[in-house]
């Protein structure tokens, strides 16, 4: 009994000291060895100084892929877009059904997600020197489960997403330049 009581006491003391506060992770604002490779994956250079053309093409691409544009500031080369989509995955549904069948428990599964993208352009070089404009895109998402709770907050960092984005962007730039 004393043992139990002292454990409970310790637990309460622990909660009192820590509260619900969890500080910011040490690496949250730190450049890591991965920073450079992430930057390369998320960036493409275009041999033009026409930043506006690239922004227009990017806005067109966001629309092509079902994003709405939330925010834009052309003078800083920024476009922000988002879309709300279904997040249900077959694997999770199957697991939930099995658990419900075997143990009669309800397991919340991923339901909805908001995907966000920001596209940033930047020109390099002077008027006379050979120059280019870079386009960098970053994606992230928030996933809610079937109880309406936030289940995942993450960046989307798979190389093939960025590969596909830039393949499509090249086409969009081509179309934009031809006024299609």
């Amino acid at each position: 009994m004393t043992g139990l009581r002292s454990i409970a006491g310790l637990l309460i003391a622990g909660v009192l000291i820590a509260g619900c506060q969890q500080g910011i992770p040490k690496e949250a604002l730190q450049l890591t060895p991965q920073t450079l490779s992430d930057r390369q994956m998320q960036t493409r250079k275009f041999e033009t100084r026409d930043e506006k053309l690239l922004l227009q093409a990017s806005a067109g691409l966001l629309q092509d892929t079902g994003f709405n544009i939330d925010e834009s500031e052309t003078s800083l080369g920024v476009i922000v877009g988002s879309k709300d989509r279904d997040a249900m995955e077959t694997g999770q549904v199957v697991m939930a059904v099995i658990l419900a069948g075997l143990f009669g428990v309800y397991t919340p599964i991923d339901d909805e997600q908001k995907i966000r993208a920001s596209i940033v352009t930047r020109g390099y070089g002077d008027e006379d020197t050979p120059s280019y404009t870079s386009v960098r895109v970053t994606f992230q998402r928030i996933v809610w489960d079937t109880q309406g709770k936030i289940n995942k907050v993450q960046r989307l960092n798979e190389p093939k997403m960025y590969q596909e984005f830039f393949d499509r962007l090249s086409k969009a730039v081509f179309l934009e330049a031809r006024g299609i």
């Binding site: 309460i12 910011i24 907050v153 993450q154 960046r155």
Partner: protein, 145 residues
């Protein structure tokens, strides 16, 4: 009598537990202006001066640095000189960075961050941010007192 003492103990435990969960907050509306660090101290953590007057280039470098750190931009405004961005990485970290002139030759860059539902009020994270920023700026971030 014994039962009464046991009851009291239980009640005390419940009160303790409630305090543990809620902290000592009497009115949640007080959060509007609540900070724990002093205003002057907070500003010195959050602010650096750079020897440049090019606020557009500085803002663009701030945006690039935020992207390097894994943020997605929420909002940017050249006239106001502000950028806001969010990082999602198992947690939610929101940052606003503002740029404004200081005298004839310098710009002041100020950053403030919110981690989950709390203001970041330690010096360390801001120091890290400015270290990343000064690398991208090719300029030294000078502390302002």
């Amino acid at each position: 009598m014994k039962a009464k003492i046991a009851m009291n103990k239980k009640a005390a435990l419940v009160v303790l537990a409630v305090f543990a969960v809620t902290g000592c907050q009497a009115n949640s509306k007080d959060q509007l202006f609540a900070t724990s660090a002093s205003q002057v101290q907070l500003r010195s953590f959050q602010t650096r001066a750079f020897d440049t007057t090019d606020s557009e280039n500085t803002l663009r470098t701030v945006i690039a640095t935020l992207q390097d750190l894994g943020f997605v931009v929420d909002k940017a405004d050249l006239d106001l000189g502000t950028v806001s961005a969010t990082k999602l990485d198992g947690y939610l970290l929101r940052m606003t960075v503002s740029v404004r002139p200081r005298g004839e030759t310098q710009l002041l860059v100020r950053a403030n961050a919110n981690y989950q539902q709390q203001a970041v009020e330690e010096a360390g994270p801001y120091q890290q941010f400015f270290t990343a920023l000064e690398k991208a700026m090719f300029l030294e971030a000078q502390e302002v007192s």
